[in-house]
């Protein structure tokens, strides 16, 4: 469960202050499926980063699963990210020198989970995402769809309660994009909260709840 209260995010570029988020109030129930749309520069990515604790609100409050996470230290936010949040990016962001399996295992490696335990979970994920044959391939040897599947497998390796996807299909063709979206929606069906930022009307329309942003504000919030 997520609650944002009067969140502002102001960037200072030179003398100028850029309001990326203006007075955003947002309540997200656990297990929901939300899309965020809006023109370029409207603050979608900034909102997602705040939700994922990669960025902090300049003012306002953020409650995650009943805990105020606004003022946590860097070490503490890292722990919250690790335990609760999974990120999926438009440009995949895999480590090129690691194999698909090692990329998927990375969150567990960073968390200090024992190799044997990691192996079991990675095998499970490779199976779930149809990547068994690609386990030892490096990112350069994989297609866009495979890359994004590896990235999603990595995002859910530690069973996060929220998956945040910033234009996850933005770099894929339509068919592959649909496959990737299906994987994300399957996660949501199993109970993971899913937030997708997208420019694609068709994709955005699939979510239970559709948020539209403009100039740092939520201008529309429709459910059903």
């Amino acid at each position: 469960m997520i609650r944002l209260e009067a969140v502002e995010r102001i960037f200072h570029v030179g003398d100028e202050a850029v309001h990326a988020l203006r007075g955003v109030d947002l309540h997200i129930e656990a297990g929901s499926y939300i899309s965020i749309m809006g023109p370029s520069g409207s603050g979608k990515s900034t909102l997602l980063n705040v939700l994922g604790l990669l960025d902090r609100p300049s003012t306002g409050h953020y409650h995650l699963d009943g805990r105020d996470v606004t003022g946590l230290s860097d070490e503490e936010t890292a722990a919250v990210r690790r335990d609760k949040v999974g990120f999926v990016f438009q440009f995949f962001h895999l480590i090129p020198r690691l194999t698909a399996a090692a990329n998927i295992a990375l969150p567990m490696t960073l968390a200090g989970i024992a190799p044997a335990q990691r192996q079991v979970r990675v095998a499970e994920l490779l199976h779930d995402f149809g990547l068994e044959a690609r386990a030892d391939h490096r990112p350069a040897e994989l297609s866009g769809g495979q890359l994004q599947r590896v990235a999603i497998a990595r995002a859910v390796a530690l069973n996060p309660s929220v998956v945040l996807a910033d234009e996850p299909t933005g770099n894929l063709d339509r068919a592959t994009g649909r496959d990737v979206l299906a994987l994300l929606e399957e996660l949501n069906r199993r109970g993971t909260t899913l937030v997708i930022v997208t420019h694609d009307q068709e994709i955005g329309a699939r979510a239970q709840r559709r948020i539209v942003m403009e100039d740092g504000r939520i201008i529309s919030d429709q459910s059903g």
Binding site: N49, L54, A78, F91, R97, L98, L110, G112
Partner: protein
């Protein structure tokens, strides 16, 4: 992150940029290697000199005319008073001390030595029968200078090994006559080859009675008096004794310097030790240059790997974890680099020892440890800044761009 995983990750990163990693290791290796080689050379030189002196015997004292300003050193700076010459009578007086086992007066000069058509310039040593024992020399053939009155200028000589072969070739030499300067001498003995000793090569000298040398070089005085004390323990007492005897003979003037083996040894030890240290210091500068190089390259690496660092943060890496990753990378680089350098330095030292067997160029342990420690320290200190910069990176910003 588990230490093993941390190490594996850093290792993988280094391996993914083999050229960059190899160059940084090379820089480290050259730094460490030069410390090792240069200190090995310094140490080799020090040991060489000490061995040279030790081969002269440990209870040797040398009486030198003139007063050294500083005690314990070789007299270089002499006081204003013109010193009284040392004479054969002085030597005889010193020999009467109860602390003294043997005395050999010494005169040194250069003269043309010739036999028939062959001739060459050589160092002529004028001394007595005792000289053989005091200088620990051995004979290859014949006899040494006969014992007896040192003032008697017998026309006999003993040849160094090389002098013998140069002047006589394979021809018999004992009993032959040769010419030194304008005088004729009969060869009564040949020294066993022993090479360089204390700056001059005894193989290329000719030894004649001290009185003959005084006539040859037209001087009533002596260059040195070599004294052998009764034992190791009596060296200090002998030194005092000799000083008093000669002071009494020289009308109360303390115008001689008595140098003991220990004093010479420690002087050389100090000079060469300081030299080794200085050379090690210069080499250490190249080490710190390597450290700065590592810092530069790591800083560039942080800039290049912004999106990777951002991603690591996004999937839950704490700032401490990221710091440790970069730190491990730098530590690995400097560890491997310095071990490589140590190996290189060690091989080079072996090579030098192989080329110049008299010089035992072994790197001293302290230098090896200091170089390795410094290299590691450099790598670690200079990785702190890049590691901190990586840990503080704004992840959202780093991930926004491709």
């Amino acid at each position: 992150m588990r230490p093993r995983d941390n190490l594996a990750y850093a290792w993988q990163t280094l391996r993914s940029q083999p050229m960059r990693s190899a160059l940084m290791m090379l820089a480290m290796a050259i730094g460490v290697g030069s410390v090792v080689v240069l200190t090995a050379l310094g140490e080799g030189a020090r040991r060489y000199v000490l061995d040279q002196f030790s081969s002269l015997g440990t209870h040797l004292l040398i009486v030198i005319p003139g007063r050294a300003e500083t005690s314990g050193g070789t007299p270089g700076v002499l006081s204003g008073v013109t010193p009284r010459d040392l004479t054969l009578d002085d030597a005889a007086a010193v020999a009467r001390s109860r602390q003294v086992a043997r005395v050999a007066p010494l005169n040194v000069g250069a003269a043309q030595v010739s036999h028939g058509a062959r001739g060459r310039e050589a160092v002529i040593l004028g001394s007595t029968a005792e000289f053989l024992h005091i200088r620990h020399m051995r004979l290859a053939a014949g006899r040494f200078l006969p014992p007896g009155d040192p003032a008697h200028a017998a026309s006999v000589c003993v040849l160094g090994a090389k002098m013998r072969s140069e002047l006589f070739g394979a021809a018999p030499v004992l009993g032959a006559w040769l010419r030194i300067g304008d005088r004729r001498f009969r060869v009564i003995g040949v020294l066993a080859p022993q090479g360089q000793q204390m700056g001059f090569n005894t193989d290329e000298t000719v030894v004649i009675p001290v009185a003959a040398a005084q006539q040859l070089f037209d001087t009533p005085s002596l260059f040195r008096i070599m004294v052998e004390a009764r034992g190791r323990d009596s060296v200090e007492r002998a030194k005092i004794d000799i000083g008093e005897i000669l002071k009494a003979r020289h009308e109360g003037e303390e115008d001689v310097t008595v140098v003991t083996q220990d004093a010479i040894l420690s002087t050389f030890d100090r000079i060469l030790g300081a030299l080794t240290l200085a050379v090690a210091g210069i080499a250490a500068i190249s080490l710190s240059v390597a450290g700065i190089l590592i810092m530069n390259v790591m800083l560039i690496s942080v800039a290049q790997r912004r999106s990777e660092i951002g991603l690591l943060k996004a999937i839950g890496a704490t700032p401490a974890t990221i710091r440790r990753l970069f730190f491990t990378e730098a530590a690995l680089l400097s560890l491997i680099g310095s071990l490589l350098g140590w190996l290189l330095g060690w091989l080079a030292s072996l090579g030098i020892t192989w080329l110049y067997p008299t010089l035992h160029a072994t790197p001293p342990l302290w230098a090896v440890l200091a170089a390795l420690g410094m290299a590691l320290g450099m790598g670690i200190v200079f990785s702190l800044l890049p590691a901190r910069r990586a840990a503080r990176l704004d992840a959202a910003l780093a991930l926004a761009r491709r």
